[in-house]
């Protein structure tokens, strides 16, 4: 109980290829879950199914008590009407690998847009909250800057603030540091570390093993569309059981 996210027997097929082949994932309130695994293992697809950027082929997803999708007797995935889907997905905040900030809006506008236009929040309140979030991610001086004027790390921190502005029940991170130069991944990871500390529920697809090890409450290793192994970070990194995980960790440490 107390699960923010429940995913049951998720299958996602692209033509003949199974990107996800029966994944069960439960995320408790306040938990930080890191998903690791080789490329093509289905990590990002799984994350994108949570907020319906991908439609599942079958399975059930419940976000904060609301059913996003279930599967009927004939095995068809049933989603509610688009308006309701959007409402449920707004319970999630998504941070993308390539930031995807709205280029024609300032940082402040990026953060306030959805609260004002989607949640119909009071404009002054939304701006006030956006300024708080800018402080939280350490960029209060950038409120009137356009995304093109920011570094990659700054863009990603603004994107995190934008996701948080909707007060989501869970934050989804899709390889948030993969597009950044190695020396500036730290500023983004720091912000995420603080979020984890303040008990914001997070699901993080990452290649940053150090971050997964230090910050995650639980690490999930995916391979070939399935969860191959999961457990506390010490267990996963110090005592990997499956051969595939051992190989994966070896190949990563070699680099």
């Amino acid at each position: 109980m107390g699960y923010i996210l429940q995913m049951k027997n998720i299958v996602k097929r692209f033509g003949e290829c199974y990107a996800l082949n029966g994944v069960d994932l439960y995320v408790a309130k306040g938990e930080t879950v890191a998903i690791i695994g080789p490329s093509g293992s289905g990590k990002s697809t799984l994350l994108r199914c949570v907020n319906r950027l991908e439609k599942v082929t079958s399975g059930e997803i419940i976000i904060n008590g609301q059913t996003l999708v279930y599967t009927d007797k004939n095995g068809h995935a049933i989603y509610p009407k688009d308006k309701q889907v959007r409402q449920i997905c707004a319970e999630t905040g998504m941070v993308f690998q390539h930031f995807n900030l709205f280029n024609h809006m300032t940082c402040l506008q990026n953060i306030c847009y959805a609260p004002i236009k989607v949640k119909r929040e009071n404009k002054d309140k939304a701006i006030e909250r956006a300024r708080e979030l800018l402080k939280l991610v350490g960029l209060p001086e950038k409120e009137n800057a356009y995304p093109a004027q920011l570094s990659g790390g700054q863009k990603q921190r603004i994107a995190i603030a934008r996701g948080l502005a909707m007060n989501p029940s869970i934050m989804l991170f899709d390889e948030p540091t993969s597009a950044l130069d190695p020396e500036i991944t730290g500023e983004v990871l720091n912000v995420m570390r603080n979020l984890a500390k303040s008990k914001i529920t997070m699901l993080v697809v990452t290649h940053e093993m150090g971050f997964a090890r230090e910050v995650a409450d639980r690490v999930i290793f995916m391979d070939q569309g399935r969860i191959a192994e999961q457990g506390a970070p010490e267990e996963i990194f110090n005592n990997p059981k499956s051969e595939r995980l051992q190989n994966f960790l070896k190949s990563i440490l070699k680099i």
Binding site: G93, M94, F99, N100, F102, N103, Y113, Q149, R162
Partner: protein
């Protein structure tokens, strides 16, 4: 020397004599140009949105419209509307109105294609980000995608606008007394090609002004792409 000076003076006199007729023609040219641009730029948008619609009847209608108006000569369309409307629908429009209608329909088809390409050139991540924030498709289009499209379509749109200045010369074929017709009249009457040179100069001034305006607009709409503080 005196001969040369007097010939210059007399050619000035000749220019002064034909200029009023040419300027009157220019008025028609500018009016047709401005009306066409003013009406076809907005009209292109619904056709662009229609041609990327997932609702197939609308998509087919819009695509067919674009195909017809881009696929046939503008001159032929002019003749078609000039002769077809009075005969088939029993509406008599003066030739200038006919010209405006034809040009608007023709140019809207081109603008629709430019807009469509612009809309589709916006990164998919913008749609995904909007969707992940719970923004509806309509809102995404009007608040997120289209504002970013404007900057990208400005160069091809101003290109079309310059083509339009020159295309206005076609309407002399249905009897509108625009600039080229006025110039041709003077040339034929006086057996003197000066009027063509002046007409060319006037077209050049018009397109030059357009170039300046489009450059200013491009600068204005790229403010959010400026780097550095």
């Amino acid at each position: 020397m005196a001969d040369f000076i007097s010939s210059i003076i007399s050619s000035f006199d000749y220019i002064k004599e034909i200029l009023p007729a040419l300027l009157e023609g220019t008025q028609f040219t500018v009016k047709l140009f401005a009306l066409t641009l003013l009406l076809s730029i907005p009209l292109g948008l619904p056709f662009a949105l229609g041609s990327i619609s997932k609702f197939w009847p609308i998509k087919i209608i819009c695509k067919t419209y674009i195909w017809l108006f881009r696929g046939t000569p503008l001159m032929l369309q002019l003749f078609f509307f000039y002769f077809f409307l009075p005969i088939a629908m029993d509406v008599r429009l003066d030739s200038f109105t006919t010209a405006v209608i034809t040009f608007v329909l023709n140019y809207a088809a081109y603008f629709a294609e430019i807009y469509r390409a612009g809309i589709e050139s916006i990164d998919r991540g913008q749609h995904e980000a909007a969707r992940s924030l719970g923004v509806s498709k309509t809102r995404t289009m009007f608040d997120i995608i289209l504002p970013q499209t404007i900057k990208r379509v400005l160069p091809p749109v101003s290109n079309e606008a310059i083509t339009l200045v020159k295309d206005t010369a076609l309407v002399s074929a249905i009897g509108v007394g625009e600039l080229l017709k006025a110039a041709r009249g003077a040339v034929n009457r006086d057996v003197n090609v000066t009027a063509y040179a002046i007409a060319a100069a006037i077209y050049l001034v018009l397109t030059f002004v357009l170039t300046l305006i489009s450059r200013w607009l491009e600068k204005h709409f790229s403010k959010y792409e400026a780097r550095g503080d």
